[in-house]
Amino acid sequence: MLARVANNLFWMGRYIERAEHVARYLNVNYFSSLDAPNELSQSRQFVLQSMMFLVGEPLDDDSTILKEEDILFNIGLNASVPYSIINNVKHARENANSARDLISTELYESINKFYHFVINYSIEDFTKKGLYDFTVNITEMTAILRGKIRGTLLHDEVYAIIMLGINLERATQVIRIINAKFNDAVKAKGSYGDKISHSFEWTTLLKCVESYDMMRRYYKKTPSSISTLEFLILNPDCPRSVINSINQVHKHIKVLDESKSPDKNSTAFLISKVKGEYEFKFAEEIEEDIQGFIEKILNSLVQISLKMENEFFNY
C-alpha cells in the first residue's frame, strides 16, 4: 500500500471517530443539563463553556457570556473553524476519496451519504431545533461506518490502518472528555456542597462515551469518581476504555510490523511499552493527580501517532 494512501486511511479513521465524540458530547451535555440536580449544572453558560473546553478552546474568563446559537454553529456546522463536526466529516470524506480504490464501494457510499447529510443540514434548523436530530444522526451514521469498516473490508493492512486511526482517536477523545468533565466536576463542586467524588458530572461523563449502562451493569452502584475512572481508563472489557483502545492499537500494529521482538525504535515497541504501563495501574493512583495523568497519556498517544507517521506514512 502507498504510504500516502495509508496516511489518508489512518486520518479517515481518526476524523470519523472524532466527529462522533464531539457530536455525542454536545448531545449528552445539552440534554442532561436540562434536568440536572443542581443549578450550575443546569446553567446554559456552564454547558456551553464545557463544550468549548472539549474542542480545545477553553474560556479564560468564565464571566464571558456565550451565545448558544453561535457556539452550536461553530462546533457543529461552521466550516471555517477547524474543530467543527462538519470539518471533521469533510476531512474524513476527502481522505476516503483519495483512497477510494482501496476501500469497499459499500464503505465509500456510506461515507459519502454521511458527508452529504452533514453539508446539506440547514444551519438554522440545527441551531434552533435540530441539535438532537443532527447529533443522533451523526452518532448513528458513524456506527454504520464502523460496521461497514468491519464488515466490508478484508481484514488486512487497509483495515489495520483504519482501526489504528479509530482506536488512537478514541483513546484520545475519551481522555479529553474525562478531562472536560473533570473540569466541570471541579467547578460544580462548590455550588451544592456535594463532594467531587460523587458529582452528577460522572454520570454525564459516562453517557458521553456511551458507557453508562455498561458501567451500571458492572458496578451496580451510582458512579463515583474512582469507579468511573477505573471503568473508562482501566477496564479492558469496556469497549470505550482507554486500555481497550490501546489493546486494539497493539493488535493492529502487529499486522504492519510482524516481527516477534520489535526494534526498540519501532512504533510497535512504543505501543507495547505504553500498554504495559497502563495494564498495571489502579484508579486511586490516577485520582491522586488526574491532571498529570491526563497530560502524560495524551503525550504518549501523540508520540505513538508521530512514530507511526515516520515509520509507515513517510512519502
Binding site: A3, R4, V5, A6, S98, R100, D101, E109, F312, F313
Partner: protein, 488 residues
C-alpha cells in the same frame, strides 16, 4: 393525483421528420430493435418514469460519481446527467463499428511509429511535413524511441456519429488520455438497478470486462526482462475532473492509484513509496498529459509528474500508456488524412467514414469551397477548442462574403467539411417532463497491446441536452445514455 389520468411515456413525443431518429420511423412506428423496449416502457406512465429517474440520480450521487462545479462562493457537486432510455446498436452495425475502430487504432499506431522513425509517409508525399513540424505535440524526444511492444496508442477513444444518411462517421480520434469509460460502466449499473426487467428481453453484451482487458493490455507491454509486471494508474489527483474514473480503473484492475509524489526514480528505474518501502513500477497507465509527466524534461513547474520519469522510459525500464507524443496524431489536421493513412499502412479502405474534408490549399477544392460555403463548415487547421469555425447555413450573405475573403487571403489555413447532422434519440427532459429528440454521438474505447486488441462492446452515447444543440461534451451540458450492443 388521479392515477387514471397518468400519461403514457411517449404520449407527447414529437418526431421531426427532418432529423434522423434512431428509434422511430417517420410514420411514427418503431424500428425493430426498439419495439420490445417500447412495449416494456409503455407499461410505465411518465410519473413512474420521473420517480425511477430520480432514484437513478440519487444512486449516482451516493456513489460519488460526480464532478465539481465552481460558482463564486463554493464548489458544488453535480452528477453527470444520465438518461434511462438506452440506445441499442444491433449486432451487424456493431460489427462495422468494431472493425472500423480497430482499423483506425492500428493505422494510427503504425503512423506514430513511422513519424517517430523513418517518416516514410511524409517522404512519400502522402502527409505534408507541416503537419508534424508545426505540431506542438510532436515530441522530438520520442524520435528513435521504441516503445515496449511497439505500441503508442494503447487506449483510443473514437468519437462516432450517425449521420442523417444512416451511416456512421468518425468525428475525432482521441489518443492522449481519452476519458469516459467509467461512465459506460456506471450507466449500465444504474440502468440495471432502475429497470432490471428489461434486460430479460434483450441479449446485451456486458461492459464490465473493460478493466480486465485493460490490465491484459498493460501487462502485454511490460519492459524487457520483467516477469510479472507491476502496473499502476497515475492521476493528477482527487481534484481532477476525471478522478472518479482514475480510481475506478485502479480499483477494477486491482492496481495502485498513484500520484506523482508517490513515485520516484533511482538509477533510471521507477519506484513507488509504500508502507513497506520502495516497490518497482513497470507499467504506468498515465492520466497525466505529456507536458506534466516529468518536470526535468518537460514543464519544470509541473508538480504532477515524477522527476526523471522520461529518462527511465527511454531507457526502456518502464512503459507509459499511452506513449508520450501520441497527441500529434489526434490533431484535427491529421484526422483529415485518415483515409490515406489507413490505405498507406494497411492497404485497406476505411471501414468507418471520415467526414469528407476539402483542403483549401488545393486549387480545385478551394473553388468548390468558395462556391458552397452555405452548406459547409469552414475550420482553421491550427485552432483548437472550436475557435474560428464558421457554419455555412447559419451565416448571412454578408458574413459569407467575409469568410470567402478570409479563405482567399490565406487558403492554406482553412479546411471545409459538409455540415453533419447527428442522429437524434428520445431523451427524457426534466423541464418539460417528457421525451424529446436530442442529438447523440458515440465514443468507443479501443485497446491495443502487444498482439492483443479489444473494443469495448458498448460505449458512451453522449446526448446534447439543449434543444437543437450539436455539441455533446459534458462541459457544454451534455448527458449520456447506456448503450447496448446486442449479441448475435
Amino acid at each position: 393525483m388521479n392515477p387514471e389520468v397518468k400519461k403514457p411515456i411517449f404520449s407527447s413525443y414529437i418526431n421531426n421528420p427532418a432529423l434522423f431518429d434512431e428509434v422511430f420511423n417517420t410514420d411514427g412506428s418503431a424500428k425493430n430493435v426498439y419495439q420490445t423496449l417500447l412495449d416494456l416502457y409503455g407499461n410505465h406512465s411518465i410519473q413512474d418514469y420521473v420517480q425511477l429517474n430520480n432514484k437513478a440520480k440519487s444512486s449516482f450521487f451516493n456513489q460519488g460519481i460526480t464532478f465539481q462545479v465552481y460558482d463564486n462562493k463554493e464548489t458544488q457537486e453535480k452528477i453527470f446527467p444520465f438518461d434511462l432510455f438506452p440506445r441499442i446498436i444491433d449486432e451487424d452495425e456493431w460489427e462495422i463499428i468494431e472493425r472500423g475502430a480497430i482499423q483506425r487504432s492500428r493505422a494510427l499506431n503504425l503512423f506514430l511509429w513511422d513519424i517517430y522513425h523513418d517518416k516514410k509517409i511524409i517522404k512519400d508525399g502522402i502527409v505534408p511535413l507541416d503537419l508534424i513540424s508545426s505540431s506542438a505535440n510532436y515530441l522530438h524526444q520520442m524520435i528513435g524511441v521504441d516503445p515496449p511492444g511497439g505500441i503508442y496508442n494503447h487506449i483510443s477513444g473514437t468519437d462516432i456519429i450517425k449521420h442523417s444518411d444512416g451511416n456512421y462517421y468518425v468525428l475525432e480520434d482521441n489518443i492522449r488520455c481519452p476519458s469516459g469509460v467509467s461512465y459506460v460502466i456506471c450507466n449500465r449499473t444504474a440502468l440495471k438497478r432502475a429497470l432490471f426487467g428489461v434486460f430479460n428481453h434483450y441479449k446485451t453484451h456486458s461492459v464490465t470486462n473493460y478493466a480486465e482487458n485493460l490490465l491484459d493490455i498493460l501487462e502485454s507491454v511490460k519492459p524487457k526482462g520483467v516477469d510479472v509486471p507491476n502496473c499502476v494508474v497515475i492521476t493528477p489527483g482527487m481534484y481532477n475532473s476525471a478522478f472518479y474514473e482514475h480510481s475506478y480503473l485502479a480499483k477494477a484492475m486491482g492496481v495502485e492509484l498513484v500520484e506523482g509524489r508517490d513515485l520516484f526514480v533511482e538509477n533510471d528505474f521507477v519506484y513507488m513509496k509504500t508502507i513497506r518501502g520502495p516497490i518497482k513500477v513497470d507499467v504506468i497507465y498515465r492520466r497525466v498529459d505529456d507536458q506534466y509527466l516529468d518536470p526535468l524534461e518537460f514543464r519544470a513547474d509541473s508538480s504532477l509528474g515524477v522527476p526523471g520519469l522520461f529518462a527511465a522510459y527511454i531507457k526502456g525500464n518502464v512503459c507509459l500508456a499511452n506513449a508520450p507524443g501520441t497527441g500529434v496524431a489526434d490533431d484535427k489536421a491529421i484526422y483529415t488524412y485518415m483515409p490515406e493513412i489507413i490505405k498507406y499502412y494497411l492497404d485497406e479502405t476505411p471501414i468507418l467514414n471520415n467526414v469528407h474534408t476539402y483542403h483549401c490549399s488545393r486549387p480545385n477544392e478551394l473553388k468548390y469551397v468558395l462556391e458552397h460555403i452555405h452548406e459547409l463548415v469552414v475550420k482553421p487547421v491550427d485552432e483548437a477548442g472550436g475557435y474560428g469555425i464558421s457554419i455555412g447555413n447559419r451565416l448571412s450573405k454578408a458574413e459569407i462574403k467575409v469568410v470567402q475573403e478570409e479563405i482567399k487571403q490565406n487558403p492554406r489555413k482553412y479546411i471545409a467539411q459538409p455540415i453533419m447532422s447527428l442522429s437524434v434519440h428520445p431523451t427524457y427532459i426534466d423541464d418539460s417532463e417528457s421525451f424529446e429528440q436530442r442529438h447523440v454521438d458515440l465514443r468507443t474505447f479501443t485497446l491495443l497491446g502487444n498482439n492483443k486488441e479489444f473494443v469495448l462492446k458498448g460505449g458512451l452515447s453522449r446526448v446534447a441536452l439543449k434543444k437543437g444543440n450539436l455539441i455533446v461534451n459534458s462541459s457544454q451540458g451534455g448527458g449520456s445514455k447506456d448503450t447496448w450492443v446486442l449479441k448475435k
